[in-house]
């Protein structure tokens, strides 16, 4: 039995780059605030409060629609989506929907990804603007065990842009490619910083071989999404192959157990009673406004990557990683204004630099380094003032603390030791102190590395390992032609 998975995604992107919430003036960034301190009558849904739409979020939604090639509606229409839940203070969410008198901000469009079998066009079904509900946590960790819930309205009303795809995806990997590309796009458009906690959530719809659709709700990371999809495909396939039938249901992903579980939260019977919000008469979206937004759109990430490949001769891969975060690509461009070897800059940024950022939670907020620091570091390397090892060692301090690399090198005497005599002396000492290693090295040239390492330790990393290796081999009478690596 050939099993074909059909997957569609609903991605909710938090417009965390907005200053204020979707319908009120509370700050959109609630992360550092203690619970229930980022609230007002509107986002609490107090009686008598009224929503006033955030113009900038609408602009950004239009921008995203243009970037995806979607068709914009000629009005912005908000609807009320009713369901009762403690995280929804008004008993309805202000959102968008397709129906009589109602339309999302845009429909159609597409995003091309590297699919499992080559390039693939993933079609967009619709793009909508809505508000985030509040956040519920549980005193005993999960809803079943907890006798009550804990509600924090800080997040209530934060702007969301929803992107819904057609079921054009076929695997967890393809889903990952899609979401990564979409997140890069919203990063570059100034809509969302994807590395902030809660920046996006995904609902996945999967069916196999035309069977019933299962929805997995509220997945918060790309990794979890891919795992959940892979698991669910296996689960459904196993069911089918065993002669069973897949039930139409809602599940959620348990990251600890690594499985999808049926939701006990079958609260709302999906009777959302959508109707156009009578507090928000439809606002016209004029052609002039759309044109103005189109003209002011930032460079799209894939165009930027192409530009890097063409102008700087970078590889596709390098360019792709550089544009994966807008702030990284901007850092790159600023750096090459001062230091012209684009390849070297790119290489450092996408490897060591990015590695440091990713190891510390992925947010570029922690980066204190400035482009001139990187330029200086590379210049020192070029001139042989410092070794690669030293460069790598101080990079972290440069990135995290914003220390000037030249100052570090001067202050701490990290200049490379090139004095032959000094190196010879150190080599002799190491040879003297490690007779066993010397024996090993004479038998197996690879063991030289240990001795080289010892000398490097003595120099505090400030020497060229190749030079040391040469000196040691000379002293031990080992041919330079023996393979060392």
């Amino acid at each position: 039995m050939k099993l074909k998975a059909v997957i569609g995604l609903e991605i909710h992107i938090q417009v965390n780059r907005a200053k204020s919430k979707m319908f009120c003036g509370c700050p959109a960034n609630y992360r550092d605030a203690p619970p229930n301190t980022n609230i007002c009558p509107v986002c609490l849904g107090l009686p008598g409060s009224l929503p006033v739409p955030n113009k900038e979020v609408i602009r950004k939604a239009v921008m995203l629609s243009l970037a995806l090639g979607s068709r914009l509606n000629n009005h912005v229409v908000f609807v009320r989506k009713h369901y009762f839940y403690p995280d929804l203070p008004k008993g309805y969410q202000i959102s968008q929907h397709r129906g009589p008198g109602m339309a999302p901000i845009a429909v159609g469009g597409s995003l091309e990804i590297e699919g499992d079998l080559g390039a693939k066009i993933v079609r967009i079904r619709r793009i909508g603007v809505e508000e985030d509900p509040a956040k519920i946590t549980y005193p005993y960790g999960d809803p079943v065990k907890s006798p009550y819930s804990l509600i924090d309205y800080n997040r209530s009303g934060v702007p969301l842009i929803e992107v819904v795809t057609e079921p054009d995806l076929s695997s967890g990997k393809e889903a990952r490619s899609f979401v990564e590309k979409l997140l890069t796009l919203v990063d570059h458009l100034g809509i969302c910083d994807p590395d902030l906690e809660g920046a996006f959530r995904v609902d996945v719809n999967i069916s196999i071989n035309g069977g019933e659709r299962v929805e997995i709700k509220n997945i918060g990371s790309i990794r979890d999404m891919e795992k959940a999809i892979n698991y669910e495909v296996i689960r459904q396939s196993a069911l089918l192959m065993g002669g069973g039938v897949v039930k139409r249901e809602t599940r959620h992903w348990d990251p600890i157990k690594g499985v999808t579980i049926v939701s006990r939260h079958k609260e709302f019977e999906e009777e959302y009673r959508y109707f156009p919000d009578p507090d928000l008469p439809a606002t016209p979206l004029s052609k002039e406004m759309i044109e103005e937004i189109r003209i002011s759109m930032p460079e799209l990430p894939w165009h930027r990557a192409e530009r890097y490949v063409k102008s700087y001769g970078l590889s596709q891969y390098t360019a792709k990683v550089l544009v994966s975060r807008k702030v990284l690509s901007e850092f790159f461009e600023e750096t090459i204004k001062i230091y012209s070897d684009a390849s070297k800059v790119a290489d450092l940024l996408i490897n060591d630099f990015l590695g440091i950022v990713n190891s510390r939670g992925r947010s570029f907020n922690i980066v204190k380094a400035r482009p001139q620091h990187i330029a200086k570091l590379l210049t020192m390397l070029d001139r042989g003032i410092i070794s690669i090892k030293i460069a790598k060692m101080i990079l972290e301090r440069v990135v995290i603390n914003g220390e000037d690399p030249e100052e570090i090198v001067m202050r701490e005497g990290l200049i490379v030791i090139s004095d032959e005599a000094e190196l010879e002396a150190l080599a002799e000492r190491v040879i003297r102190e490690n007779p066993k290693a010397v024996e090993d090295a004479k038998k197996n040239p690879k063991a030289i590395n240990y001795l080289v390492g010892q000398v490097m330790k003595l120099t505090g990393g400030k020497a060229d390992p190749q030079k040391i290796s040469y000196i040691i081999r000379k002293k031990l009478g080992i041919s330079a032609n023996s393979s060392l690596q």
Binding site: L46, G48, L50, P89, G91, P147, F275
Partner: protein, 487 residues
């Protein structure tokens, strides 16, 4: 010290005396509180009355600071948010709700120097036409204590007509300001939709609701309007109406004024079902106007017959949505949520907190909006709305639509409330302007026996100023304003 009884004077006269005279202001307020003390237990116009010391202190301060309204008190319908002052909507579910913010209109009045004296009784969540669905019990009509004062802003009308407050804020979704104004011989004004900010008005039906004024006469309405109109960034449906100088015109209108030769248009279908004695009183008022130079015309708009069902479909639908928020454990009626599944918690609190009429409307409203019925009822009602608007705007461009405000005399307590359709039918005249977004007023047409009868005049959207001036003309010509019931 000279003593003046300002109790039964309209605000524009009271201000002449109390501006710069805090002593007269204090005397005035004492008299008001005296009357409240004496009559409130029978009339029950208020749900919450602020302590006199507080009100007098604030009023005197505003007076001393030279503010425009010089400490004039105002009664506020209990569905309008007042910071720190209980706001119940006449419902058990909000009986202890204390809002953290003022409605924009309240804030503007306070800034102009007015002081909130108390919150007035109303039908629960403004759903009703007699003030009998209030959780706090009904109010009584000062003109006949066995009868209702109208609704849903019944308490606001009681306060003004019984001289417990010189003016009130009410709200009007399908007639809730004009209905009690008509029944208590006061002046009632519902603005063009959007002219008064709805921020802080606890919603019943968002596309129909407006804050309205109940005053002793139309000049007071013109006066207060200056301080409360203007676009509000907190209300996405608010409009900008410019009113400077218009109060002066209203004030200076007198018997000798040349009245504008306005056209009065009666739509036959709006007069169907009007009681005989009401008809007579209203027609005689219109006759007086015609004698003074107004023209009068009768036309037929058969679609008017569908205004009432269209209105109720929309009102119920929007109400079910606006009331979906109640039950949340942040404010209002609450229980211990511990161990209760959320759907049980919510349905328990809501069932305990809402009265029967509210429950009826919420259930029907939810039904109307549900899949499969949305087109059948809600969209259809919206289409009828467009038809009515298209048919009526041409009339409103050339004249004013007139009708009795109410088709029947104020019912006796308990009479109307049993039969829902009969109750809804009371709104037959008043729902029309809400549906099409037009301004409307009720002036005193006369009396049948001792019971007041109102004349409703409807104007074109944004024509509020001229409408109030026409109201002033009508008051002067017909001869009834600032009427005093014998309690």
């Amino acid at each position: 010290m000279r003593s003046v009884n300002l109790i039964n004077r309209p605000i524009h006269e009271v201000l002449e005396y109390i501006r710069g005279s805090p002593e007269l202001l204090i005397e005035y307020l004492y008299r008001l509180y005296e009357r409240i003390e004496r009559y409130e237990k029978i009339l029950r116009g208020f749900i919450t009355i602020r302590p006199s010391e507080e009100v007098i202190r604030e009023a005197v301060e505003a007076n001393r600071e030279g503010k425009a309204l010089a400490g004039i008190p105002i009664a506020v319908k209990d569905n309008i948010s007042t910071a720190g002052l209980r706001t119940t909507c006449g419902s058990a579910i909000l009986k202890d709700y204390i809002p953290p913010y003022d409605a924009t209109v309240v804030e503007r009045l306070k800034r102009a120097g007015s002081v909130v004296i108390g919150k007035t009784n109303m039908d629960e969540f403004a759903m009703g036409s007699t003030t009998e669905t209030s959780f706090f019990g009904p109010s009584r009509n000062p003109w006949d204590l066995s009868r209702v004062p109208g609704g849903s802003s019944g308490g606001s009308a009681v306060a003004v007509s019984a001289y417990l407050s010189p003016a009130s804020l009410g709200s009007d979704t399908g007639g809730s300001v004009r209905n009690p104004a008509a029944y208590t011989a006061t002046f009632g004004y519902k603005p063009t939709y959007g002219v008064l900010s709805r921020y802080g008005l606890i919603a019943y039906a968002s596309s129909l609701d407006q804050i309205g004024l109940i005053t002793r006469d139309s000049v007071d309405a013109a006066l207060l309007l200056e301080y409360i109109v203007g676009e509000d960034p907190m209300d996405p449906t608010s409009l900008d109406l410019k009113v400077s100088g218009f109060y002066r015109i209203a004030l200076n209108m007198g018997e000798k004024t040349d009245f504008p030769n306005a056209s009065l248009i009666a739509i036959k279908e709006m007069w169907e079902g009007v009681e005989e004695d009401i008809y007579k009183v209203v027609m005689s008022a219109i006759d007086k106007l015609v004698s003074s130079g107004f023209s009068y015309d009768e036309v037929s708009v058969p679609e008017i017959r569908y205004a009432l069902p269209a209105y109720y479909v929309l009102a119920f639908a929007e109400a079910s949505s606006n009331l979906a928020r109640y039950g949340i454990p942040i404010y209002g009626l609450k229980e211990d949520p511990m161990n209760l599944p959320w759907d049980e918690y919510y349905s328990k609190v809501r069932s305990m907190g809402f009265g029967r009429e509210v429950k009826r409307r919420i259930m029907l409203g939810s039904y109307i909006l549900s899949a499969g019925y949305y087109e059948q009822y809600y969209l259809k009602a919206l289409k009828v709305r467009r038809v009515l608007r298209d048919k009526l705007l041409p009339f409103l461009r050339r004249g004013y639509i007139v009708s009795p405000t109410m088709p029947v005399k104020p019912p006796r307590l308990g009479e109307a409330i049993e039969d829902p359709i009969k109750l809804y039918a009371m709104d037959i005249e008043t729902v029309v302007p809400n549906l099409i977004g037009s301004p409307a007023i009720s002036v005193v047409a006369g009396f049948t026996g001792s019971l007041p009868v109102g004349l409703q005049i409807i104007g074109p959207p944004m024509g509020d100023k001229d409408l109030i001036l026409i109201g002033r003309a009508a008051e002067i010509i017909v001869g009834y304003y600032n009427m005093s019931p014998q309690i």
